[in-house]
Structures are given as C-alpha cells and as structure tokens.
C-alpha cells in the first residue's frame, strides 16, 4: 500500500478511537467465551465468523500501527499489515456481522464487537471496497435530505393513494387528512419506511386512536449506519431531527425498524423530543384504552422474534409480548429469549446485500428456535428481521407465516 494511502487508513482508524473503542481494543483476553455466541459461526464454522475472530482481524491491524509490539515484535500479537488479503478479511468480518450485540452478553467485559467492526467499515470505505449497495443507498438518502423540496410533490401524490386505502379500511367518510403531512405542533411525527405497508397500518392505528400526528417525508432506515460512515449516519438521522424541530412535535415515533429506533433513541445524544417505537405507542394506546383489539383473534400458535436493536439494545421487551398475548390464543416464547435471543441474521444492512445463501446458513439458529416452538405464525417488529425471517422461511421451507406486529394490530382493531 502506498504511504499516502496508508496514512489515510491510519487516520481513519484514529478517527474511530473513542473511549469505548479504546477499552474494547485493549481489553479482550481472547478467553473465547463469546466464540459460540454469534449466530453466524453457528451456521458457518469459520473463525472469522466468531465475535473474537472478527474483532481480532481489526485488532491485528490496530496493533500493527498503534502498538509498539506491532512494530518491534509483530508475532507477539500477530500484528498484520494492511494489504489486500487483510482488506478482504475485514470485508468478510464486518459485513457478516449484524451488530446484534448478542456477543456483548457473553463477554465478561461486555466487549461490543459490532462497535469494533466500525473500524473495519471505515477502512473499507477508505479503501473503496465497501459494499456498493450500501454506498448507493446511503448516498441516495443523503441526496434526498439535501433536496427534499423536489421530492415533496411526488411523495404527496403517493400518500394521497394511501389515504384512500386507510379510509376504506376504517370506513371513514372522506380520505381527506387521514395521513397528515407537514402539520405543525402535532403530538407525533411518525417516521415510516419506503413500503406502503409501513404507512398504511400505522395510519389506521393513529386514526383509530384519534391521534394528532403527522407523517415524515423521510424514511427511518439509516444506510449510513449500516455502511459504517459516521458522517452519513449523522446526516441521515438529522434529516428527521431537523424536521421534528421545525414542526415542533413533542414525540417522534419510529416505524418497525430496530436500527432506526436505536439511533435517535440512544446514539445521537439528548434531543428536544421523545423518541418512541411504534410498538411502545401501540402498547400505550391499549393501556389508555384508546384502541381495542380482538382478543384471541389469532388461533394458530404464535411466537415473537425480538429484533436485537429493539430488545437487547433498545429495552423494548414487554410491550410486544403484552400486545401479542391479547391477540394470540396460544403465545409461545422462543428459547433462548429476550436479551439472549438469537439474531435472525438480517440486521446491519445485510438484507440489502446480495448474500442470500450466506443468510440462510447464518439463520440456522433462528430456524431451529422457530421450529422448536412449533409456532405457525412468527411475529416481529423490524423490517430487516421480517425480510430475513422470510429468507429463513423459504430457505428451510418452513411451514410458518411471518407477520409484522403493526399489521396484525391494524387488522384486528375493534373499530
């Protein structure tokens, strides 16, 4: 590697040496307790698919350039130069990790391998070998943030069609205003995804609860985070933050998307509004009696898949379960569950990549869990999870149905 490029790489690493990263880089004792905790190594037995194996790819580069031992006695910690082979290893390590943080639960020091993969990702961006798909998607999101005015009219006409669907489903006299946009000082700014389903179902629920809300122009998904570009991540997230500030809303409600929830909730620092997941909001409506559900509407056995970013990393465990326990006659827990739940293998933007075979294999623990419950309906509350659960379902030919939580709530409202 040319000296200039190498310098750029070293600077990229240095830029990510935050306090937690410093601890995590020095702390690992290579005890191997996390080794089996990653769903990927459960499906594909390769050292680099274990948390410590993954992290060591990064640490070996780190030692090379940031530790005296890397310079004077490279074999001490197997320090490695940044060459093409290592760049490939970094790519394999980083974009096979969903950032689910299950390994955090299994490390005596709570080392966050997903965070360490942030270093691999900036190196890949610097090297020009980051996944094309994620680059394009994040650039498109940034572009939309820069020139939102051009998108507005087109988006409004799409929403107009969706309003008719909501009107029909609720039997309202007119579609006018059932999906409000750019409404100042509303209680809630709802941030959806690109798919119509992520707008129609929540709109039905908001209307049923007589909520004072407005729809965001932006999608909640953050490809900057998946790509591992901190600047783009912040820009994409701030599109919604600024929109919420301009509109003066009290609360920002995030669609069923784990990462989209975790970023504003935990990763941006203090914000002048509350951040809530749509799952929490539905639960609140039920508690307040603003909506009612048909009890026991689902007769087949139902299980719930905790999206990692919503459960383990977001703390939303009880709400979806309480909702499902109303709807389902036969609710079953997976095992292990909650904070120890297996990642489905779709997070971290992996579902956006061309890697279906890999994802079927790495979805093996999830497949086994689902089968063990005997459930016929698998419910989740994250679009990435749902896509991956679909991949697992078809990949292993499972006799189950995969459903969004909001969708079954919207279908089973008592109106």
């Amino acid at each position: 590697m040319e000296p200039e490029k190498l310098q750029g790489m070293k600077d990229a690493i240095r830029g990510r040496l935050t306090k937690p990263m410093r601890y995590y880089l020095d702390l690992c004792t290579r005890c191997g307790l996390c080794y089996e905790s990653c769903h990927v190594i459960q499906g594909i037995h390769k050292r680099e698919y274990s948390p410590v194996g993954r992290a060591e790819v990064v640490r070996k580069v780190f030692r090379k350039y940031f530790r005296p031992s890397g310079k004077f006695l490279p074999s001490w910690g197997e320090a490695t130069d940044l060459d093409d082979r290592v760049m490939d290893e970094l790519l394999d390590a980083a974009f096979s990790c969903t950032g689910c943080r299950r390994c955090v639960m299994h490390c005596p020091f709570g080392i966050d391998t997903g965070l360490i993969m942030g270093i691999a990702k900036v190196l890949l961006i610097e090297n020009g070998t980051a996944p094309e798909e994620l680059l394009m998607l994040s650039d498109a999101a940034v572009e939309k943030g820069k020139s939102i005015a051009e998108f507005k009219d087109g988006y409004r006409s799409v929403i107009y069609d969706l309003e008719k669907q909501v009107q029909e489903r609720l039997g309202l006299p007119s579609p006018e205003g059932v999906i409000p946009m750019e409404k100042k000082n509303a209680n809630i700014l709802y941030v959806a995804l690109a798919g119509a389903r992520s707008i129609v179902n929540p709109a039905i629920i908001f209307n049923a609860a007589k909520e004072d809300w407005t729809l965001s122009f932006f999608e909640a998904v953050n490809f900057g985070q998946f790509l591992g570009d901190p600047e783009k991540m912040k820009f994409i997230a701030n599109r919604v933050v600024n929109e919420a500030k301009e509109l003066g809303v009290k609360e920002v409600v995030i669609v069923e998307c784990g990462t989209a929830y975790r970023i504003p909730k935990f990763m941006l620092g203090p914000l002048p509004f509350k951040v809530t997941s749509i799952v929490e909001l539905i639960h609140r409506y039920l508690k307040e009696g603003r909506i009612k559900l048909k009890e026991g509407a689902l007769t087949a056995p139902v299980t719930y898949h905790d999206p990692c970013q919503l459960g383990r990393n977001g703390g939303v465990f009880e709400e979806p379960r309480e909702i499902l326990q109303i709807l389902a006659k036969d609710y079953r827990e997976m095992s292990p569950t909650r904070e120890f739940n297996w990642c489905c293998g779709g997070g971290g933007g992996l579902v956006a990549l061309d890697n279906e075979n890999f994802r079927i294999k790495s979805g093996k623990p999830k497949r086994d869990q689902i089968v063990a419950t005997g459930a016929k309906v698998v419910v989740s509350a994250c679009e990435n999870c749902i896509s991956q659960l679909e991949t697992i379902r078809s990949g292993y030919d499972l006799d189950v149905e995969v459903r969004y939580l909001t969708e079954i709530v919207a279908e089973n409202l008592v109106v």
């Binding site: 690992c28 005890c31 307790l33 031992s69 001490w76 005596p108 620092g269 383990r312």
Partner: protein, 238 residues
Amino acid sequence: MWEFFSYFVMVPMVYIAFATLILGIIFKFIVVYRSPGIPGRLPVFPMEKSKTLGLLKEAFTIPAAFRGSKPFWFFLVLFHAAFTLVFLGHLELAGDIPVLRSIPHEVFLGAGALGVTLGVSVIYFLFRRLHTPHREISVMEDYVLLLLLFFTILFGSILHMADRYGMTALNIPVGDYRVYFSSLLALKPRMPVMITASPHFIIFILHLFFANLVLIMFPFTKMIHAAFIFPALSIKRK
C-alpha cells in the same frame, strides 16, 4: 555477573517494575480519557436497578463465564481469588499495614494451597488454549503471559515450601523478607544475608525476576483487563 544480575533483580528492577505498573496504568487511563467520547450511549437491556451493584456483581462473579463453561468459570474464580490473596500476602511483607498484619502471614499465603491453586489454574488455562477453538484465537502474548505467571508461581511456591516444611537449611525466614521489602519501601535498599546466603537464593531471584516481568507487562498487555473491566462494564449500563 550473577552478583550484578541478582542485585539488579532485587533492587533496580523492583523499582522499575512498580513504577511501570503504576505509571503504566495511569498512562493507559490518560490515553482513554483524552480520547473523544461518543455522543450517545451504548446500553444493553435489561439493566439492574442499582448499576453499581450490578457492575460489581458482574465483575466479581463473572456470570458470562458461568453461562459459557462451568469448569472455566470455576478456575477463573479460583485463580482470581487466589491471586488477590497472594498479592495482599506480599503487600503484608512490605510495609507495616496493621489491617493486613492482623491476619497471620501463613493465612494469606494459604499454607501452600494458594500456590497450588494458582499453578493448577494456570495449567488449566494453558491446556484450554491448546484446544480448538481457543487455539485458533490464541496469540503469542497469551502463552507467554501464562508461562510467566506459571514460573512466578512455581518459584514462589518452592520458597514457601521450604518455610512450610521447616527445611531450615533452605529456609529464608519471613522476617528477612520483611527487612528486605521494607528497606525497598523506605528507599534504603538492603539485601539481608539470610536471603543472599541461602541455597535458595537463586530460586528467590527467579521468583522475583518473573514477578517483576509480570508487573512490567501488566499495563501494556491484556492483563490491563483487571483495571479496564470496571469502566468497560459501565459502558453498557449508561
């Protein structure tokens, strides 16, 4: 040569070791504190009601290891507990620390049992590393540190055994260790003749040499986990 080496190990190297240990740990923390923080937080749920209690409990009972492998957990707890006691037992030799002195020296060093415990644990850790998958993730550092610990423990145990089994000819009396250690602490190093003239002098020097190496390496190797575990475990509780 030997005279110089033994003097070096007994006096300058001990000072170097403790200075490196203390300044090294301070240095490591300064580097972290001068690094940028993150704008948000990195919690993992569910969180205990009392974060401090939860953190201490996790640091001292290692639930992650308990879930992962019972034998490994057993030896981890054993090793760390024994290590702490032995460390305190040695401190008690150095200065007149009333709290520590109130417990007989014998008890700290476990009448030889601690040496055996430490030795067996370290051998377990070594053999565990030789097995897949731990072999694949191990690097030179892991083996070298375990070997250094093993030799420190081995020579320390030999010294202790001479005392224990009343091998008068070999034994170096506790009193003389005390004289030596407190002289170092007072910055007026003395090398008592009962130590230097003992047939076990060479064992003593080897014990001290390996122990010094361990202390010197402590801040700059993965052994820093003993200090970093606390801030690291608090990250996921913020």
